[in-house]
């Protein structure tokens, strides 16, 4: 985890990914943005990445293994868990069953529902980035 490191977006909807990217740039985020459209590729990327990431935004419903399953795999792999990258679910759907599972079966740093309009999204994304920018970061990678 590094404040200047890349932001990883795991999102299968290209439009949603573009909106999130626009919001991030609009807020003034300079970090590199890396996009993976499924959890398999995201996992392979995280395993081989040598850069310290800043934060992961992950959708819930994804082709193949979903977001919840990806997070479980990260928690189970010591070398990935050790990277201590804040993991945020950022999803259109936020059914209570998924929220409960995210909190009780794994360790997450937040679960946010996508805003219904651009301004709402911007507010939430800004809040998330401000929070993790203020937060002290480990130095493990």
């Amino acid at each position: 985890m590094s404040k200047t490191g890349p932001i990883l977006i795991i999102e299968d909807d290209k439009e949603d990914k573009e909106i999130l990217e626009d919001v991030l740039r609009d807020i003034g985020v300079k970090n590199r943005i890396i996009w993976m459209e499924n959890t398999h590729n995201a996992y392979e990327f995280l395993k081989s990445a040598t850069e310290a990431m800043f934060i992961i935004f992950c959708d819930i419903n994804l082709p193949g293994k979903n977001g919840l399953e990806l997070k479980k795999v990260i928690d189970d792999r010591p070398e990935l868990r050790k990277k201590s990258i804040p993991f945020i679910f950022y999803s259109t759907s936020a059914n209570q069953k998924d929220v409960n599972e995210a909190y009780s079966k794994m360790t997450i740093q937040g679960f946010f529902q996508k805003g219904s309009n651009y301004e709402d999204m911007k507010k939430v994304i800004r809040l998330i980035l401000d929070y993790w920018t203020l937060c002290k970061h480990p130095n493990l990678l």
Binding site: A102, S104, Q109, G110, K136
Partner: protein, 141 residues
């Protein structure tokens, strides 16, 4: 975890606790504040309470078992872990060693260094509470 539940503070300095409480009130939060000056009493409270707690703010340096040991105890006790309460370190000292341990040996939702003056502290508390207010919450006790 409930947005309206109590905010638990573990802080051995009564002045710091008072300042924290004043700030939470001044930000307009109505949540009850539950304060413990040591981690043993906090564990006892968490184990027996029916309260659905909104968030835990814990200092690192505390008499008896410190904040890091306190968090490990919560993680390793299934009925406490199940409560899924966001856990934030809010500490005067922020040694890299403690930060690294907090992220790698346990699961934290943030590690913040106390601000130097009232306004800085108020900014931090405001951001942390807003973040967890915006976040989706599990339905647990």
């Amino acid at each position: 975890m409930s947005k309206f539940g109590p905010i638990l503070i573990i802080e051995d300095d009564a002045d710091d606790k008072q300042l924290f409480e004043d700030i939470v009130k001044s930000l307009g939060y109505q949540n009850r504040i539950v304060w413990y000056d040591n981690t043993e009493d906090a564990i006892e409270y968490l184990s027996t309470t029916g309260d659905s707690i909104f968030i835990i703010f814990s200092d690192i340096n505390l008499p008896g078992k410190n904040g890091l040991e306190f968090k490990k105890k919560i993680d390793s006790t299934p009925e406490l872990r199940q409560k899924s309460i966001p856990f934030v370190f809010y500490s005067t000292s922020a040694l890299q060693k403690d930060i690294d341990e907090a992220y790698s040996k346990m699961t934290v939702q943030g590690f913040f260094k106390k601000g130097k003056d009232y306004n800085e502290i108020k900014g931090h508390i405001s951001l942390i509470l807003e973040y967890w207010k915006a976040c989706k919450h599990p339905n647990t006790h």
